[in-house]
């Protein structure tokens, strides 16, 4: 599908992978709705890409429905949806600190997994009523963000790994559900990228230690490189129902 002139929603679009994707999509001619819990940051990115900023808490279904309604009324129905909103927490399932709190597990799953699902179900429901834009009958595409933690979960990441493995697991059935409407679903599993979330989780020293374990290139991924793949997924109609690791060949062993 051509990106030019399409409407794109990017959740978590105010920073990190989402912000870079908003910039790339805008550079290729999409009109962008930056959805983020941080409205001020969202406004900065929206101003930069000549898009609109909409506050949203993806864990709150009323907030998601309201944000999508705002996109629809101000820009129209989106054909490109990138689910980049996410959060993490470092905590072992049990340790001298006691058991992992159930509440924080639920919180991570609410945002990363249920939030992604909620945005997809509501956006897809609007998308399927649109006219197709290609000879294939294509109506739109979802790019979801999981993580290599969904496969290689390190210590202290049961909640994050469970939520991201959930996003990985949704990819194929969601693609199959939406195929009759010409809507594709592809998931990207980023490795270590230089984002506020990654730095907050590991601290600067931990971040550097992890980078020493990346085969090539031995550095943090640039959010623009994530955005480059996300844009390719939008453009390449044969990519569907697939989960793509974008991780410089990193696999997380026990050392992390």
């Amino acid at each position: 599908m051509e990106i030019r002139d399409q409407i794109a929603i990017v959740t978590g679009g105010a920073s990190g992978l989402g912000a870079a994707t908003a910039r790339h999509l805008a550079a290729q001619g999409a009109r962008i709705a930056v959805l983020d819990i941080n409205e001020n940051l969202a406004r900065q990115i929206a101003d930069e890409v000549d898009g609109i900023a909409i506050p949203v808490d993806v864990a709150n279904d009323t907030s998601v429905a309201a944000a999508l309604a705002t996109v629809r009324s101000r820009l129209g129905v989106a054909r490109i949806v990138v689910n980049a909103a996410g959060t993490g927490i470092g905590r072992k399932i049990a340790s001298s600190k006691g058991p992992h709190p159930l509440e924080s597990f639920r919180r991570v799953v609410d945002i990363n997994l249920t939030g992604t699902f909620d945005v997809c179900r509501l956006a897809a429901n609007e998308m399927l009523a649109l006219e197709p834009v290609t000879a294939d009958g294509e109506r739109g595409v979802f790019v979801n963000v999981a993580s290599i933690f969904g496969f290689d979960g390190p210590v202290g990441n049961t909640a994050y790994a469970a939520s991201k493995a959930g996003v990985i697991g949704m990819t194929l059935p969601m693609a199959r559900d939406l195929a009759p409407y010409g809507i594709r679903v592809v998931t990207i599993c980023p490795g270590v990228f230089d984002t506020p979330l990654a730095r907050a989780e590991t601290g600067d020293a931990g971040f550097q230690r992890i980078l020493d374990l990346v085969p090539f290139p031995r550095r943090a991924g640039k959010p623009a490189e994530f955005a480059q793949l996300a844009c390719h997924i939008v453009e390449n109609s044969m990519l569907n129902g697939e989960v793509i690791r974008l991780d410089a060949a990193m696999r997380m062993g026990l050392m992390i």
Binding site: G137, F216, K222, E225, E235, G241, R245, A248
Partner: protein, 256 residues
């Protein structure tokens, strides 16, 4: 990696996926050496894209060495290698026709698996002696072709599935071996693409299989495959991964 001006060595470059990728890479500014057993056909594609046609049989080490030397002398040491040479047979493991011919099994392995390995090892060796191309220290990229059959092997595809699963399995260790030299390795697993190899599939099977592609419900175009190969070349964070490009097809028991 900026591919403009780089040499791309493409085995099986005279037709199908190899020729499709050659057209895309050439359009993006690469100089293509098309290696094929059918050098007349390779010449036709080479004439079209201003490339170089070279006779090569990937089961013959001397033939690979000769072609690699000729490509290097004429165009420069290849920094992009696409292993697209492949063959297929349809024979069941055992049945009324007797046991699967061991010679046929080994013939498929020698072309698809050992041939891919042989080209990769010789081309990688030549690349290691070249200067890096960018500040990451990148020297090149090897793109191998597996198949969705590696994961979803249909009936009568035991040799092809074994050979392609071998290519899939080589991806990560090869990427790790070559990471110190700044050489990436990525495998693409195509679904149903319109190629001469696919033209060997019985029409009744094709009539049954295309309707089982979720979306888009049609043959993949080799240029779509080529677009993904270009993205792999250009995106340095893609490494050690196998990417399915298949319109979300999974081959179930109905594909028998």
């Amino acid at each position: 990696m900026d591919i403009r001006g780089l040499t791309a060595l493409i085995t099986g470059g005279a037709s199908g996926l190899g020729a499709g990728a050659a057209r895309v890479l050439s359009e993006a500014g690469a100089r293509c050496a098309l290696l094929d057993r059918n050098v007349d056909l390779a010449r036709e594609v080479a004439a079209e894209i201003d490339g170089l046609a070279l006779a090569c049989d990937v089961v013959d080490t001397a033939s690979i060495e000769t072609a690699l030397a000729a490509a290097s002398a004429e165009l420069g040491v290849p920094r992009i290698v696409l292993n697209a040479a492949g063959i297929d047979v349809a024979i069941r493991t055992a049945g009324p026709k007797g046991p699967h011919s061991l010679a046929e099994f080994e013939r498929v392995l020698r072309v698809n698996l050992t041939g891919t390995f042989n080209v990769a090892r010789l081309a990688a060796q030549a690349m290691t002696a070249e200067p890096p191309l960018n500040e990451d220290g990148e020297r090149g990229v090897i793109v191998n072709i597996a198949s969705v059959v590696a994961e979803d092997g249909p009936i009568g595809q035991v040799a092809y599935a074994a050979s392609k699963a071998g290519v899939q399995g080589m991806t990560l260790p090869m990427a790790r071996d070559l990471a110190p030299f700044g050489i990436r390795v990525v495998t693409v697993a195509p679904g149903m693409f319109e190629t001469p190899l696919a033209s060997g599939i019985p029409q009744s099977w094709i009539d049954a299989i295309i309707p089982t592609v979720p979306f888009p419900r049609r043959w993949g175009n080799p240029l779509e495959f080529g677009a993904l190969v270009r993205q792999i070349c250009e995106n340095p964070m893609l490494n050690g991964e196998m990417i399915r490009i298949d319109g979300a097809i999974r081959m179930g028991i109905e594909h028998s």
